[in-house]
């Protein structure tokens, strides 16, 4: 099963099992979603529950907040993270604050899904990885499923959560094949996961950089360096203890994050490891991030801007 199919399976299961759940966004119905995640769902559940909306990010996120307040369990699909910026006021000033500002009177059980990341030659207005920005905001949860199992399990977990949950689906992952236990329900959304065991170095990553990092780990193995790969999975609230356990074993850390380096989520992970795991470290924490430029279009330019397997390998060798 692919990552995309796993998301669809999650959507279907949620729509079937909970009458409060409905999906809305642009092109989610007749078209089946810009990334085909909701294909077939309009036919199965009808236009009330799989709703093509007018083209207005701010309004479908804002109306999602309203519907959640009104007793529903809305899933809002925003085509890409770049376009979610048109709805940012609804996220930062409203979804994230309402519970707190109201003295705990209001709850917003809202799930917002969107594609993130580069690698498909879509240039500066469709390719950025802004999940790290979202992770800066208290009051929302931020998930970055990087496996087929998490693609479905995290969506179901988001729908059980009483707070707004933002799910960032890296667009390069949609066609990825993987295992899925059909009966597995909601995934845990409190912990990071070790995806590969190793003793020599800890590679911490999340989302679309996980496959690249695992590939780098394989190449490193052929150079007799055993890397442990940790998938952060949940950026907020962040599970630092899984990182620390690994660092205590390997004493070296490289963080791979597709966002821009300055102020990146990699910087946050690095700071926390420095604060809490300084004594374990034998080398400074290293970061591999995107070049700090708007994402270019041409293939070789985009490759030059994005973290690559070769750079991960080289960085580890240089530690």
């Amino acid at each position: 099963m692919t990552y995309r199919e796993a998301i669809r399976a999650g959507l279907r299961e949620a729509l079937r099992s909970d009458p409060r759940v409905f999906l809305m966004g642009e092109d989610v119905g007749r078209y089946g979603g810009a990334y085909a995640c909701s294909r077939g769902l309009l036919e199965e559940f009808g236009p009330e529950r799989v709703r093509d909306t007018p083209l207005s990010e701010s309004t479908f996120v804002g109306a999602g907040i309203g519907a959640a307040l009104g007793g529903m369990r809305p899933i809002v699909e925003v085509m890409t993270v770049n376009f979610s910026l048109l709805a940012l006021d609804q996220v930062v000033n409203n979804a994230a604050t309402l519970r707190h500002m109201s003295g705990g009177q209001f709850s917003i059980p809202l799930a917002v899904r969107m594609a993130t990341g580069g690698g498909r030659q879509l240039a500066a207005q469709h390719s950025h990885s802004l999940e790290g920005w979202y992770a800066h905001i208290p009051g929302i949860k931020v998930l970055t499923p990087a496996t087929v199992a998490d693609a479905k399990g995290m969506l179901l977990a988001a729908l059980q959560d009483p707070d707004p949950v933002f799910i960032f689906e890296h667009a390069m992952l949609y066609p990825m094949e993987g295992e899925l236990d059909e009966d597995a329900g909601a995934a845990d959304i409190s912990q990071a996961r070790v995806r590969r065991q190793g003793n020599d170095v800890t590679l911490i990553t999340f989302g679309g950089s996980l496959p690249k990092t695992l590939e780098a780990a394989e190449q490193l193995a052929s150079l007799e360096i055993e890397a442990e790969v940790v998938d952060a999975r949940v950026l907020r609230p962040l599970d630092i203890s899984t990182f620390l356990t690994s660092v205590a074993k390997t004493h070296r850390v490289v963080i791979v994050d597709e966002a821009w380096r300055t102020g990146s989520f990699a910087a946050e992970i690095s700071a926390q490891i420095m604060e809490q795991g300084f004594d374990h470290l034998d080398a400074p924490v290293a970061r591999i991030c995107a070049a700090e430029v708007p994402m270019p279009y041409a293939k070789h330019l985009e490759e030059a801007a994005l973290p690559q397997v070769g750079i991960i390998v080289k960085t580890v060798q240089g530690l």
Binding site: R30, P54, T59, L86, Q121, Y297, G310
Partner: protein, 372 residues
């Protein structure tokens, strides 16, 4: 069919569907101008066909076309002055073309090569030319509309007799930027012409899903200025209406919203398959209203055109397209380290550092590959 009735009631049309002209509304363009317009429209159509083919062959990654909407795009831009600004959506190559953006400029952009004005940084068809006063294409829908209002306000402050023309689609009218820009332009009487290409679809979402109003043009009323509904497949009607809107804007009369009622005959872009959401019968209906056919029939009636000239022009354009393509495909790509340029006017130290790091890595990788 409520919308259709409302449309027929007040639509501005110069050319009937068989190419017959309404003399009272005829903008009386010279023969030369008429032929220039036709040539540009045909070229745009032929470039679309060629580029879709190139994308299928894997020679370009993406393309987004104007097929069916050439009259609305080219007719409007043709009515502007040299100093006026075009703020494009993403189907407006034709508008730039009639302002002097060449086919070669366009192909260099599509290939993202070293001579592309956008230096390989923008998606194909996301053109820009400061020299020609064509603003950079902005992908997030509707975000370009406020820029046009700002350009118009700037012209007004400078007391220049200039105006801005902004293109956007029917889908964009659901975004906040559309409404607040219209409001702003109304309040400041900005010399701004809003041109909505109502091509009936926003990817898979039909016009009815964007607004419950019978038309888009009607929205101008709420912002305190005039809206005009125009047959977007009638190049002379578009030209005449835009010309009038510009004259009004330049003489202090404020903004105008033009709704060009047209149709996207092709897919949204090369990433789209319209069969998933619309019927062939609808497309067939609109094919009969093709803006190129209607204009050609008019030109034939005026004895300016006939089949032989059509055949010859198509041959010439085809040759021009192919020879330009051939030349452009030889141009090398921009160097990888060029991505660090133009982030700022002057490259700061941290980008110089990242650039040098990239160069060292590329050098090393070359050595690794050579040693194999």
């Amino acid at each position: 069919m409520k919308a259709a009735v409302a449309v027929e009631d007040k639509i501005v049309r110069v050319l009937g569907e068989g190419g017959e002209v309404d003399a009272s509304k005829d903008p009386r363009l010279s023969d030369r101008d008429l032929l220039t317009l036709y040539r540009a429209m045909l070229l745009n159509r032929m470039v679309d066909e060629r580029m879709f083919r190139l994308q299928r062959q894997g020679r370009i990654a993406f393309y987004i076309g104007a097929t069916g909407e050439e009259a609305a795009i080219i007719g409007a831009a043709f009515a502007m002055g040299e100093k006026d600004w075009v703020v494009p959506c993403y189907r407006e190559f034709g508008a730039a073309y009639v302002r002097g953006f060449t086919l070669r400029d366009f192909f260099c952009q599509i290939f993202g090569n070293a001579q592309d004005l956008t230096k390989g940084r923008q998606m194909p068809v996301h053109i820009a030319s400061s020299r020609l006063h064509v603003l950079s294409v902005s992908s997030p829908v509707g975000t370009q509309i406020p820029h046009a209002v700002g350009l118009a306000i700037a012209a007004k402050i400078r007391k220049a007799k200039e105006a801005a023309l902004v293109f956007f689609g029917d889908g964009a009218t659901s975004e906040g930027d559309f409404h607040v820009s219209m409001n702003f332009a109304g309040v400041f009487r900005a010399p701004c012409v809003f041109l909505c290409r109502n091509n009936q679809w926003a990817i898979s979402v039909p016009r009815e899903r964007q607004t419950a109003a019978p038309s888009i043009e009607i929205k101008a009323k709420a912002y305190g200025f005039e809206g005009v509904l125009v047959d977007g497949n009638d190049v002379l009607a578009i030209y005449a209406t835009t010309k009038k809107a510009f004259e009004k804007a330049r003489s202090g009369g404020g903004p105008t919203l033009i709704e060009a009622f047209t149709y996207r005959l092709g897919p949204h872009s090369t990433s789209d398959d319209p069969h998933a959401y619309r019927g062939e019968d609808e497309v067939e209906l609109w094919k009969k209203k093709d803006p190129l056919i209607r204009f050609r029939e008019y030109l034939e009636k005026r004895k300016l055109w006939h089949q032989d000239r059509e055949t010859k022009l198509m041959q010439d354009l085809n040759e021009e397209i192919l020879s330009t393509l051939k030349e452009v495909e030889q141009i090398p790509p921009p160097p990888p380290e060029s991505i660090f340029e133009d982030v700022y006017a002057v490259m700061p130290w941290h980008l110089r550092e990242q650039r040098d790091q990239l160069l060292r890595w590329l050098e090393e990788r070359k050595k690794i590959t050579e040693s194999y």
